[in-house]
Symmetry: C2
Subunit: 311 residues, 2 copies
């Protein structure tokens, strides 16, 4: 196995985590968490969505949140968008990075956008143009890339069709999302190896969920395929509407911890990441999926021997 | 990455899972669960411990449980022991497989046995002799092989000292246990590669806990090092006394599910394994760590498209 010496972890909790919570945080509290993430060392943070407020009410205040985030020129603050209106809102707000998302699953995409996935990406051309004309960086995201709850398996071909269309637009950064936690390490290794080798100029970001406890395993597989960029969410927030009660995104602090234990540099302060997760639990008002919050770091351990133990 | 086409999963829940539960199951209920495990296809089941009843009260009835297990000549029913008294009890009960356990951590082992680990294994000689003279198969188990809550890192050398002593006894099957969930995939890959290559005649069994969510990742790493035998516990039962509230053993049905998704044969009926996990939750009276019980199998998914979705 080959592991990278360095990986980059993007904090997507403010978007993919909080959008699923019953408790809607105030703009101030969201900005506070994002500022803490900056302080912990995260260099890319997905701060919200610029979509119709009725679609995701919890993120309707993304512009207000953005205004309250502290200046940090080396930190990328990314928002998810799906159309031209989102680009216009990013321009108006002064946001410098947008992520255009499409589903690799035709039925999933038809349900969201009423058109086939490749048509959706073609239609992103006007978004890409308007954004880049206004100095906004654009990335692409392909959801359900490792399985769809309606269609089942998603082929490499289905994903590649969209990769090609995104490339035609000029996009050089793409994330592959296991939106509902269906991918497995073998599939992840195969898909990541294929795309990383065939499209070496694209910056690949992998976005895993931990729905069936394979989030870290899939990260290990992706790392072995040469992937160095990962999305994750504080406290592992972010449910799945198709599996109520299931766990959410790959948990940031658990991923940082695993990397640290493996000697893989993340430049993130793990103690601060864990402190953020604790604050997140307090904000959302329930226990989270964070293993760090329950078990603590391996490196914390240096216990006193008990008088007598059993086996 | 290289994955095996076949792995063997040992169900250790009746021992390493139930020993940590507040609710003590009746012998009948334990035997029922074990019989269900046989029916699900598990070929090795750790049914209990033959240690002093005060040490592990929950398993004091192991002989009674054994009596109520159905005949299954192709299934190995294993018990954990630590001394000669355990061997004698196994002989008296008609149990045909015992596992002798020692800790790779000197301080952990001193606390348990009041002697250094290698002395403990040397002292197992009389256990090995008595057992084999009575037709009982013996395996060895090295706990805290991937870290100790008192000592921290455990070196390859510390583990190898015990491997050599076990070999001198004549033992050909050894399990390496990450007793408190401290191992990481890099360490697991390195240790497994080392031992698998240097001692190819030993049947290696890996025993992971999911304390910090690395149970499946560590399994992936071990598989890539050529390991084919894994311990796991139904519902992921089995806490850690040093991290109260943390999750326990690697979860059997989650491991079977991951293997199935990856095309790795286990010969275990996943639906039956999940049904057992559900029964276990009912017996112990609380929610477990099983991801399968919360999210269901990937292959179960074939949902109706909702009228309208958001992102």
């Amino acid at each position: 196995m080959n592991f990278p010496s360095r990986v980059y972890i993007n904090e997507v909790g403010p978007r993919d985590g909080l959008q699923n919570e019953k408790t809607i945080l105030s703009s101030k509290d969201k900005a506070h968490l994002i500022n803490q993430c900056i302080d912990a060392g995260y260099k890319t943070i997905e701060i919200g969505s610029l979509v119709h407020p009725k679609a995701i009410p919890a993120l309707a205040d993304t512009e207000d949140v953005f205004k309250q985030i502290k200046q940090a020129p080396d930190v990328e603050l990314r928002v998810l968008i799906t159309n031209l209106r989102g680009v216009q809102r990013a321009i108006d707000a002064g946001i410098k990075k947008v992520k255009l998302t499409v589903s690799a699953s035709a039925s999933h995409n038809m349900s969201n956008f009423n058109r086939r996935p490749e048509e959706t990406v073609k239609n992103f051309a006007e978004c890409y143009e308007l954004a880049t004309q206004n100095g906004i960086d654009v990335s692409g995201a392909i959801s359900t890339a490792f399985g769809c709850p309606f269609e089942g398996d998603i082929s490499i071909e289905a994903v590649e069709t969209l990769v090609i269309e995104f490339q035609k637009l000029g996009i050089k950064e793409l994330s592959l999302s296991d939106t509902t936690g269906m991918g497995n390490p073998k599939e992840v290794f195969e898909k990541c190896s294929y795309f990383k080798n065939k499209y070496p100029d694209i910056k690949w970001i992998l976005h895993f969920h931990n729905t069936r406890d394979m989030g870290l395993s899939n990260s290990i597989a992706a790392m072995n395929a040469g992937i160095e960029n990962f999305d994750a969410s504080f406290s592992g927030l972010g449910g799945c509407p198709y599996a109520p009660g299931a766990s959410g995104n790959l948990c940031s602090e658990d991923l940082v911890h695993m990397c640290e234990e493996m000697g893989i540099d993340t430049d993130i302060d793990l103690d601060k990441a864990i402190a953020i997760a604790r604050e997140v639990e307090a904000f959302v008002g329930h226990k989270s999926e964070s293993f760090m919050l329950r078990a603590g770091k391996v490196s914390d351990l240096s216990l006193e021997l008990p008088e007598k133990q059993d086996n």
